[in-house]
Symmetry: C3
């Protein structure tokens, strides 16, 4: 990929082409429980290169405003969250959740006198245990996000996030690139009792996977074909939902998986990981395992969302375990495997040096869709990017046995990509 | 403030306009006790962007020379302090406190043979427990500093310094900006038995402070008016002494306070903190409290002058204590409150984004005086900056009750700003 | 030295003039025991600014290839070392020790299909417990290195390496500059029972050393003259072997010493330290001491080759010991003394500020030889640099008593610089 295209795809700060596109969607900002209490501690967050402050006001509204006071530039992190606003710790200048300056001790208490001190604020909503914000132009604000896991009861969903210390794109490409599962996660997947069953294991033993990709209005549908029963193929159907979501098929009645890959700045991203079951609450056993960092989740450095296994400790690589084929790469855990590989590419992968392979077709297509949307935004800022409408966002991943003669595209179109009327469970 | 003016005010390295101005004054370098013993360990110090080495020579003179040997550029920190000079650890090249190269093992022991190896050295004096250096042009060296706390008996003074990890200007502006006391330090000041008494507390309860500023030959005098007794106002009068000193009024017979804000480089400064009483020794109780880091002083990371509460640990913020109104910002200690707020503005505040308020008038005036002096130096390097003469440096802060009809400027001119003949005590 | 010449001498990355010259020699890469086992853990190494991966393949060959997979740029450190190659942890793309891509899961298993994925690989050999690589043009590969310590039995040699956090040149200049021994290492050398004997100590007491240097086809021979017996001088003869080796004379029957100063990148280097005795195995006592970090070796931070005494802890400087003349600089250990002084010059010494002395003649000559070779390479890339042929590399250091009337150059030419037929032992 040439450098110019790469620059377009990896830069998402204010005023960048792709940054403008991403600001047309609701953005996952932080876990609702990070600002659990009204008037509780405010939290610094950086998203799409913007330094922001999240808090819950007295009335219980989640809020997201500029981190810094407009007066002298002091961080409002050192302010007071009280009486429906954040009061700057330096001189008591106060802002509400709309960014309105509602009090300046040395000025009259009128809107007129204070409004030139107003700061940036983004509308927030809460779905699926996450505070989402809309950071784009006011007149383009879309309906609330309609991903399946957003709208299930709390009991059916488990959400975590972890810091990944590289550009969002190479992290997300790992989510799109289903072909790496057979290598990076080979022994991990096979030994996971929570997510695999004997049937899935049997199908998975077929290493000769055939990949197909189909461009969709919502993004991409990826198909991976393995031998199933004598008269059928086992198809694993994965989704990429523009601009930053991926969906992972379950095995049998296990929970489904999903990710959101959200830029913090151009050299860091949040890897959100979601497990959910559309038809039942997660079991106690499942929830305990997920909370312990199993599956696509991880353990953290105390008091942070930085993984305990990180680049400073070589991801706790265990060469003996690698030798004994208990882990393919020497690193344990799906999340850590992906992180170690992707961070090792550099904080921003130099894509001018890569040599793509046939299995990278989905990545190429996703890059092109992102690039097209960025170019469209440059030419026509009003242009509507893909899947910005809620009704495009209800898609599913699935694993399914189909007769050997049947192509999976039609089945997917009917069962996975057309809205919430036809929930489908996977084999 | 535009970027060009900001650049002028924050850059103080060699050859900068304001750096030239600052080099016309005696500069506080380090505590005398840091180089307590003749021929004791030398100490690396960086001041105004210059890397220097302080030591006490065999004869007991404090000395300040270039940190690096002129021969191969090795740090003289790894040399030997002995026989009235520092001997480089690499090849034994030796320098005395005047920077004269007095010995090169491979050259004849004559001044003529060695003088091309001479290094930078600055004249030093000691006052108030501090080693001061004059870093400016030789023919402009002024009389020794004449601040009141410089010339009191040791028993009457307590001095400390702490590293502040931001530009000196935003730190000093905090010292000039008396309006923040009612917010950042609100609960701190009110709960400090050592510095407040019941009368002061009564006056301080008046949150509606009226601020006035007056430009002076020595810098600025700031006046803060609160209700006093029925027929009087309680005036708190604070001083800014060009280019980097601030003076804080005492309450009643408590010790006075002062600061010096000295650039280390453009992203760090020394915040010197002084308490002193012109009329009596500090009590044992006072000294014990100050040594423990109370008041405007602080506790340190072991073996350093970096505060124990610093940006790496979010200044030990305590949200519960903030909630319970035991601290306004969540951070404890006047020094730490100022540091946390000022460091959060970035290492060099982006002043193009600030929106100043009526209470910032003193800051605006101080900036203008600094800028004027810098511009004057650019046009006429010989120009004399404010208060370079010792007789301009003896000024005082005070708290005083004045009849409601009386303006404080005249009182201050008579009692505070005109030299040492009329010591005044404050209410 | 002007900045342009300095740039030429300190830059050794791919495509630089001196980097090209250095790539004409076998380069010490890592200890053989770092990749002890066939199919054992691979090791990341950076040499001459190139990020590389060293491993031992199934057949036992040491190998050095690009650190990163040609497919997506992932570090092969997170791959599998098995079946004569490294298999990338992301998608199973596999490379052998020649850098040939031997397997791409999604491509046919033919050379033709895979060869566009080939990566950089350098031929390796092992000598003296070290893996060496040839990183230059294929048609210029010289005979294996012929330094004396390379070709002795394991029993006769002890090799260590340590990270030095500065440019290789200022580290190597310390090795060339024998005049610093009388200062930096003064008390260290005198108190070392393993390397000194009473006779050497007697000669060494003469502080008035006369230095001479002679340019050689292999580099430089440095002569240091002290008073010996009444009718003789004690000459210490040190060698610099182009481009990065130094050799240290022994005392009596003690082991000889040597160093290699290898650029990691422009701000770090490996200081290799070698002790060897051409005529006998090292004794148990000697080996124990060397393994404990005595002499020119050092102790490490656990699990690394970074010295335990390093710039983060001021090299464990002990001012009391310095005062008591147990160490000249306050730092203990020859390696640590050199490192502390040389790192204190900055990661790349600013040579425009140095003032050279008569004792720096060897340094000036070495710089000129390096510069000449770099310029020659720029004009004629085929030009042959000094001592690239093995028969030029067998030189020795020695300490010898010569009659007062005899110059040492002739003696050295006959006994030290002309190949392996005439081993000479030193007094």
């Amino acid at each position: 990929m040439d450098n110019q295209m790469s620059e377009t795809l990896v830069r998402t700060g204010p005023g960048t082409a792709l940054g403008n596109v991403m600001r047309r969607y609701w953005v996952p900002i932080l876990l609702s429980r990070e600002i659990a209490e009204p008037d509780g501690p405010q939290v610094r967050v950086q998203i799409l290169g913007e330094k922001l402050l999240a808090f819950r006001d007295t009335d219980g509204h989640a809020a997201l405003i500029d981190e810094f006071c407009s007066h002298r530039g002091v961080s409002l992190y050192f302010g007071r969250n009280e009486k429906n606003g954040i009061c700057c710790g330096y001189h008591g200048v106060k802002f509400d959740r709309n960014g309105h300056c509602v009090e300046v001790p040395s000025l009259p208490k009128t809107r007129e006198a204070c409004k030139h001190l107003d700061i940036k604020a983004y509308p927030c909503i809460e779905r699926g245990g996450i505070v989402w914000a809309y950071m784009g132009p006011k007149d383009k604000q879309p309906e609330p996000p309609n991903l399946e896991w957003c709208n299930l009861p709390d009991s059916h969903v488990f959400v975590s996030k972890r810091l990944q210390e590289c550009n969002y794109l190479q992290a997300m490409e790992g989510g799109i690139d289903t072909s790496h599962v057979s290598y990076a996660h080979a022994y991990e997947v096979a030994s996971d009792p929570l997510h695999m069953d004997s049937k899935a294991l049997k199908y998975f033993a077929d290493g000769n996977v055939i990949f197909e990709v189909e461009q969709q209005p919502h993004g991409l549908t990826m198909f991976g074909r393995r031998n199933g029963e004598p008269d059928s193929y086992y198809w694993r159907i994965t989704q990429w939902l523009f601009p930053w979501y991926t969906l992972i098929p379950p095995f049998g009645d296990h929970a489904m998986g999903g990710h959101a890959w959200i830029p913090i700045d151009d050299e860091n991203c949040w890897a959100w990981s979601i497990n959910f079951h559309p038809g039942r609450p997660l079991t106690e056993e499942e929830r305990t395992a997920l909370e312990a960092g199993k599956g696509i989740h991880c353990e953290y450095e105390e008091g942070t969302f930085r993984p305990k296994a990180n680049k400073d400790n070589d991801y706790l690589i265990d060469r003996q375990a690698q030798k004994e084929m208990r882990t393919f790469t020497g690193v344990f855990g799906i999340a850590t495997q992906d992180t170690s590989l992707q961070e090792s590419m550099g904080t921003i992968q130099d894509r001018s040096k890569e040599i793509l392979l046939p299995t990278d077709r989905a990545i190429v297509m996703a890059r092109r869709m992102l690039h097209d949307a960025a170019m469209a935004n440059t030419l026509t800022p009003d242009a509507e990017p893909p899947a910005v409408h809620a009704d495009r966002q209800f898609v599913r991943a699935a694993g399914v046995l189909l007769p050997r003669g049947q192509q999976p595209q039609g089945w997917a179109a009917e069962h996975l990509n057309n809205g919430k009327d036809k929930p489908v469970f996977s084999v």
